[in-house]
């Protein structure tokens, strides 16, 4: 469990919300990370402390020995599904990663028959659960949007310095992985700089998922003459990310596949316009707050971003729409709503009606 990623944060909030309801709750992990060792317990210690009536909530995001292990146990099982990146998107870059995703898909199908309830963070993800054979499903958005942390942390932190302070500031946040298709954002930036805004820049915040894809992106930036216009900041602290949101003019999302997209929510939290490739859960998550493109044409994306940035009333409108969208997502109560589902499940005898 990593403290810095969305699933780690979500798991911690869920545990705390469960304890706030008066239940005993612990986080068990197969692999202990040093940064979260104080918050977690090795899963092999669980059987010794297992009690009748225990409910196991499995945070499902990747292939793990946890899946077959849980499949063989008897506790009431709730699967909290965070999406599996289609292996097809990863295979051209990293066979090993792709194999992991293929196994994750198999794990999901393995768990379906013995899961009392599967919770996803979007209707888009819920469809995957139904397809995998889960009979009882629910949708609750993740409780780990940075927006709230932005308010807490403040926005006066340092961000990586850029050589050209003028020009539109594009921002991309999220794992630097092949399914994020950052090359499409970079291509659009090349078009914008060639035609409309020679000083537009792009800041990419996120940890590389595979070295080959990361290297190809850097090379692509160089080949398009964008060295100095694109900054790869890598993994950044909450303070740096918060400052980046505050200083950016637009969040650009060109992912091929998004199960929810926490950065989109974070952008709405700080009033940052979002331009996105309209696929996966993004239209559902952003609603009217998002400005969508339907193709990966860099000229179309460039024109859409440039038009939005030049249209102050439209920007104000999408910012307002973002606030309404956040209200409807009601992320502040997401953890409590999740716990309420668990309580209802327990009270109904372990099966959701």
């Amino acid at each position: 469990m990593h403290r810095g990623d969305a699933i780690g944060r979500h798991t911690l909030r869920l545990r705390n919300a469960t304890r706030a309801r008066g239940f005993e709750s612990h986080i068990y992990v197969d692999v202990t990370e040093e940064e979260t060792a104080r918050e977690t317990i090795p899963v092999l210690e669980y059987p010794a402390s297992a009690q009748p009536g225990d409910v196991a909530v499995y945070q499902f995001a990747t292939a793990s020995y946890m899946a077959p292990w849980l499949a063989g146990r008897g506790e009431t099982l709730v699967v909290n599904y965070h999406n599996i990146t289609p292996p097809d998107l990863l295979a051209p870059w990293d066979n090993h990663l792709a194999l992991g995703q293929l196994r994750a898909q198999a794990d999901l199908r393995l768990l379906a028959p013995r899961t009392a309830l599967a919770v996803s963070d979007s209707a888009y993800n819920e469809a995957h659960l139904i397809e995998a054979g889960f009979a009882a499903t629910a949708v609750i958005p993740p409780s780990a949007a940075l927006g709230h942390d932005v308010i807490a942390v403040g926005i006066d932190a340092q961000v990586p310095a850029r050589e050209t302070p003028r020009g539109a500031r594009w921002l991309a946040v999220g794992r630097v992985a092949p399914n994020k298709a950052l090359q499409d954002t970079i291509a659009a930036l090349a078009v914008t700089r060639a035609h409309d805004d020679p000083e537009a820049t792009l800041l990419v915040i996120g940890k590389p998922a595979t070295a080959l894809y990361d290297r190809a992106l850097h090379r692509y930036v160089d080949e398009l003459g964008l060295h100095g216009a694109v900054t790869f900041a890598g993994h950044a602290s909450d303070a740096v990310v918060a400052a980046a949101y505050a200083q950016a003019d637009v969040l650009v999302i060109t992912s091929e596949h998004e199960g929810f997209c926490v950065p989109a929510v974070e952008a709405m939290s700080v009033g940052l316009p979002v331009v996105a490739f309209g696929q996966g859960a993004l239209p559902e998550v952003l609603g009217d707050a998002g400005t969508f493109v339907t193709s990966k044409d860099p000229y179309a994306l460039s024109n859409t971003i440039d038009a939005l940035l030049a249209d102050a009333p439209r920007r104000a409108s999408v910012t307002q729409a973002g606030r309404h969208r956040l209200d409807s997502l009601d992320l502040a109560s997401a953890a409590e709503r999740f716990v309420a589902l668990l309580v209802a499940l327990v009270e109904s005898g372990g099966r959701r009606r």
Binding site: D30, V31, P42, V43, L44, A63, S64, Y65, M66, P68, W69, A71, G72, P87, D88, A91, P92, W93, N95, H96, A98, L99, G100, L102, R103, Q105, A106, R109, L110, A181, Q183, A187, A190, V191, R193, A194, L212, R215, A216, H218, R219, Y220, D222, E223, L224, G225, L226, H227, E256, K296, D297, P298, Y299
Partner: protein
Amino acid sequence: MASDKVSVLGHPTERPSWVPRARPVASTGVSAPLTPPGDHDDGEGRETNEEKAAAALHAAFSRLAPQGNDAWNFLAAFTHLGDRYGPYHPGTSGLSDLLGEPGPDRRTRRTRLARLRPRGDRPTADDARREMEEAMAQVVEAFRFLSARVGTLEQRLAHQDRPIDAVPWLVPAEELGPWAGPVAAHMVAMTPGGAVLHADCGEGLLLDTLAQGGVDALGVEPRGGVALRALERGCAVTICEALETLETLPSGTLGGVVLSGVVDRLALHELLPLLSQTRRALQSAAPIAVVATDPSGNGSDRGAAALELVAGRPLHVETWEILLDRAGFVDIAPLTRDGVDDGRFALSATTPS
């Protein structure tokens, strides 16, 4: 995404087909029908210049994916083995020992404890199969170590050859300028027919001149920002290194080749395969022209970083005569022009009849 990004994974319930395949072909290959410069949106469905430029930008990134190269194929082969015989999920895990067995059917296998039960005197078919699978697991591990060793070797060689990737962006694109007319005239006069390729084509000055002379012109330019200007004017340009494009062309198809810019920045061991591939791709009795910087001149306008990081350097005319001769070209002669000396010279030659 480029259509040549073929999924290599079959249906999740089937064994994945990690099939090694050839590298994706660069875009705007010779076989594609060529159209003269200018916007082609004539309402009859032909691609506009922007659409072609967008396709070229996408293709420029697609060719950076490792799929199809030797390293990817190697990993694909033993990932397939790993899927069948390797551990469920490589990496440390507290649960892995508990679950015990490698291979995809681990959930139905007996635990190690169960395997210690007394056997009969004769080994069963099950025992033989298990021994074979454990042996294959060892083979997978051996491949993993081998891959690591090869990777180390490759890294060392790469750093010797090319300390940084995508070197062209360090060297400014140099247009042919006053050489465009004489070179184009020579190509028009000497070509036996077919397309004439120019690398590095820059913003496409020679391509335009060749087109005006009625010759199909193809450009190769590794600096994407420069190539974009040529693409948007309707030139047929691939964003790529010259050698990468030439390697994809069928033998004996080009009607002529002009090499400029690229010849000043490639190391000798890269120039030799470039000339060899040029020779192969040209038809019989087809012309080649080399426009190169005279190293005896006033000195390079390269910046300090380019001087120190770019392996190639301009070569004297005598050296080029030798290189062309060794590559199998005949009728090697200076190509002259009127006007002020710009520090460059040109040579022409042909492939044998």
